[in-house]
């Protein structure tokens, strides 16, 4: 295998694994946006906040990062429930929710600056080498490298996304949620309990932020403004994957990061973020055209059947 092919494979692999992390972050966002109608920017803050909380637990109590989930997951669940309860209490529209979550996103950065200082925090020197030493995968006479933490992101993303997908498809609870999404009033008339389901979905979405935050702090250094760097990829992945579709968001995040990385290998890296938004632009531009074409095809087919 030539060096160029190996470099491309390595780049695509790294992109795919990083995409898993962004897919994990996007999971909670797509669930809240798609099923509860809340485009929740605060979800990104909760992810970062969980990262900081994990940092404190690991460096303060020498807890294994995975065991910190026993604390951060319930904590984030409660925050998620309370946030949604607030929106419910003030009867916030989707637009109001968007503004409120964005305001919370900004406030959260300042709060984290005050609590943990605006300086960079890294857990790298606290983790033993099993987290930071690359795993070699032989490919011919050469090898590809993978960080254990990236494998961790892959496994957690797959487990959580597939579990969410399965629950949506195969449980009464998931079907109730989908019914609620289609028409909340009719669903309520048919016995779906809107408020408890809404609160639980919000709580579970926030709980996924705890898991994503743990991966984040193991993988990269933290600064209070870090969440701002994720907005582009996470929002684009959520939209491209289809709102409310966790698997779609994960696949979109993986493809986006693979494309961005491949671009940076051959072209000036400073343009790679534009690639993500370029893909979103193309998708948004083509969506109505595809819909019109599909509708015309269906119309013609119906006419032919009628004749």
């Amino acid at each position: 295998m030539s060096g160029d092919t190996l470099a491309l494979l390595q780049t695509l692999l790294n992109g795919a694994l990083l995409g898993c992390l962004f897919g994990l972050i996007a999971l909670g966002l797509t669930m809240k946006w798609g099923h509860l109608g809340v485009p929740d920017f605060f979800h990104l803050s909760l992810t970062l906040f969980s990262g900081y909380l994990t940092y404190t637990l690991v460096t303060g109590l020498l807890m294994n990062p995975f065991l910190t989930l026993l604390i951060t997951v319930p904590a984030m669940f409660v925050i998620g429930v309370l946030t949604q309860w607030l929106f419910f209490t003030i009867k916030a529209s989707a637009f109001t929710s968007l503004l409120l979550t964005f305001a919370l996103f900004i406030v959260a950065e300042s709060v984290m600056s005050v609590i943990w200082s605006p300086d960079m925090l890294s857990m790298r020197s606290w983790l033993d080498s099993s987290f930071t030493t690359a795993i070699r995968i032989p490919v011919g006479d050469k090898s590809l490298s993978v960080l254990p933490v990236d494998v961790m992101a892959l496994v957690l993303a797959l487990v959580l996304v597939l579990a969410t997908w399965w629950m949506l498809k195969h449980t009464r609870w998931g079907r109730a949620l989908q019914a609620m999404r289609q028409d909340a009033q009719i669903a309520e008339v048919l016995g779906v309990r809107i408020l408890p389901i809404t609160l639980i979905v919000s709580g579970l979405a926030a709980a996924t932020a705890a898991v994503a935050g743990m991966v984040v702090v193991v993988r990269m250094p933290l600064t209070p403004g870090l969440a701002m760097n994720w907005i582009g990829v996470v929002i684009v992945a959520t939209l491209l994957g289809g709102l409310g579709r966790p698997l779609g968001a994960l696949i979109a995040a993986i493809v986006l990061m693979m494309v961005q990385n491949a671009w940076s290998l051959w072209f000036p890296p400073q343009w790679s973020p534009a690639v993500a938004f370029g893909l979103l632009f193309i998708y948004l531009a083509l969506t109505p055209i595809i819909r019109i074409v599909r509708e015309r095809v269906e119309l013609r087919r119906n006419r032919e059947q009628a004749v």
Binding site: L18, V159, Q270
Partner: protein, 434 residues
């Protein structure tokens, strides 16, 4: 029904075993356990923080306060390093007041957060000037320094700056930079720093023959990179590939893949803030260790976060905690006081370029105030014709844009500690290249 329950149980078991399987993968160890790696403050006796002042310890300043205003990035992407400058400002004010103030008058420091946004910097200085502050100090980083220059210069105030990385953008005769990047040159203001680095590398044992350059799109680093390419070529170091990347980039694997392909003797990274930390992740990810690495303007926390991986990394420097620069009474007290503040505010307990430049900026302003009082016109006139003793050495302001001295230094992490390796007169150790 039974099958459905079994499926649920199976899924739960898979999820649980995945999590707990991963949990067993790695552990956590306290890097500080067993050894005293944290910097500790040595007791140092109180002296005046500026050369032309006697410290009247125990004398309470009683006169009307001299109010110094400043804008600082306390939040946003530059907040980490901004916190260092803010801590230094507060430390300096407390210190000078402990010494009885200047001419019996206490110093007061009013700082406004600019959220790392240049537009907010302009607004902050306009507000400070309208509130009638007596003096101002500059903000952190080049873009902010330029943003503040408009209102400050228009009001006729002296404008001392700490780390203005765009020295070629003219501020005027009221500009008094502490980190003298330009060194008095009139064109190619980063050329002296670039030439110093290229010469240092080319004259060392195992001198590099090839270089790979990766530069963040930030005014300071772009200026530096532009000067570095011809300086490398002139010193016989071929630049085999170069890339630029956006501020805020966190995934560098594709750039590092290009580095691997280029296999250069030295990797030159034009980075500010925490980039080096994210580069290290990409190095880990690809199992790559550059033979030599220069990480120009990395934040102290970013470099410290690398642990053992920081060994051998070269950085641009103004000051490091090694003799002869740290062998003065002022340096000893500053080190002692700053390390205490750093501990209190969760800052990296290291005195290096940022802390030293911030301290130097205050020294420049207050030395002039001690000479001519808090009169901006007189301060500008006095600083224009006199030399000021700062922590990093004597500085003068008689060159273009106030740059009058060459204070470019190169430091390296050796045996876990930052130390100046060039020029020889300030070096605490000899450069080590692979």
């Amino acid at each position: 029904m039974k099958n459905s329950k079994l499926t649920k149980l199976g899924l739960a078991a898979v999820a649980a075993s995945a999590v707990f399987g991963l949990a067993a993968c790695g552990g956590v160890t306290d890097p500080n356990a067993g050894s005293e790696t944290t910097e500790t403050a040595e007791a140092a006796s109180l002296v005046a923080p500026i050369a032309n002042m006697e410290c009247a310890e125990g004398t309470e300043p009683t006169g009307e306060p001299i109010v110094v205003g400043g804008s600082m990035s306390l939040t946003g992407p530059l907040g980490g390093t901004g916190a260092v400058h803010d801590a230094v400002g507060n430390l300096m004010v407390e210190w000078i007041n402990e010494c009885g103030g200047i001419d019996g008058r206490p110093i007061e420091y009013t700082v406004l957060d600019d959220q790392s946004t240049p537009a907010q910097v302009t607004s902050n200085y306009e507000r400070l000037l309208s509130e009638g502050v007596d003096l101002v100090v500059g903000p952190y980083a080049g873009a902010a320094a330029l943003a503040g220059a408009g209102p400050v210069s228009a009001a006729g105030y002296a404008y001392p700056t700490a780390t203005n990385g765009v020295p070629e953008s003219l501020i005027g005769e009221n500009h008094f930079p502490s980190w003298q990047i330009g060194g008095g040159a009139t064109e190619g203001m980063w050329s002296l720093a670039a030439e110093d680095l290229a010469t240092t590398l080319s004259q060392a044992d195992n001198a590099p023959k090839t270089a790979f350059m990766a530069t963040q799109k930030f005014p300071t680093t772009l200026s530096f990179a532009e000067a570095q390419k011809p300086a490398f070529e002139a010193a016989g170091i071929e630049v085999v590939d170069s890339v630029e990347y956006d501020m805020g980039t966190t995934d560098f694997t594709s750039i590092v893949t290009r580095m691997l392909a280029a296999d250069a003797d030295i990797v030159w990274i034009g980075a500010v803030g925490m980039d080096i930390s994210n580069f290290q992740l990409a190095f880990d990810s690809l199992g790559y260790t550059p033979r030599n690495l220069f990480a120009s303007l990395s934040g102290p926390a970013a470099l410290a976060s690398l642990g053992d991986a920081a060994e051998g990394i070269l950085v641009s420097s103004l000051y490091e905690d090694n003799a002869p620069l740290n062998d003065t009474d002022i340096a000893r007290y500053f080190t002692s006081a700053y390390l205490e503040v750093a501990k209190e505010k969760n800052l990296v307990p290291v005195i290096e370029t940022q802390a030293a430049a911030g301290f130097g900026m205050w020294q420049i302003l207050l030395t002039a105030v001690a000479e001519v009082g808090p009169d901006n016109a007189k301060i500008i006139e006095w600083l224009g014709t006199n030399e000021v003793e700062t922590l990093a050495g004597p500085v003068k302001f008689d060159g273009y844009n106030g740059y009058g001295s060459d204070l470019n230094r190169v430091a390296q992490v050796q045996d876990g500690k930052r130390v100046i390796v060039s020029p020889e007169e300030f070096a605490g150790a000899k450069i080590r290249l692979n």
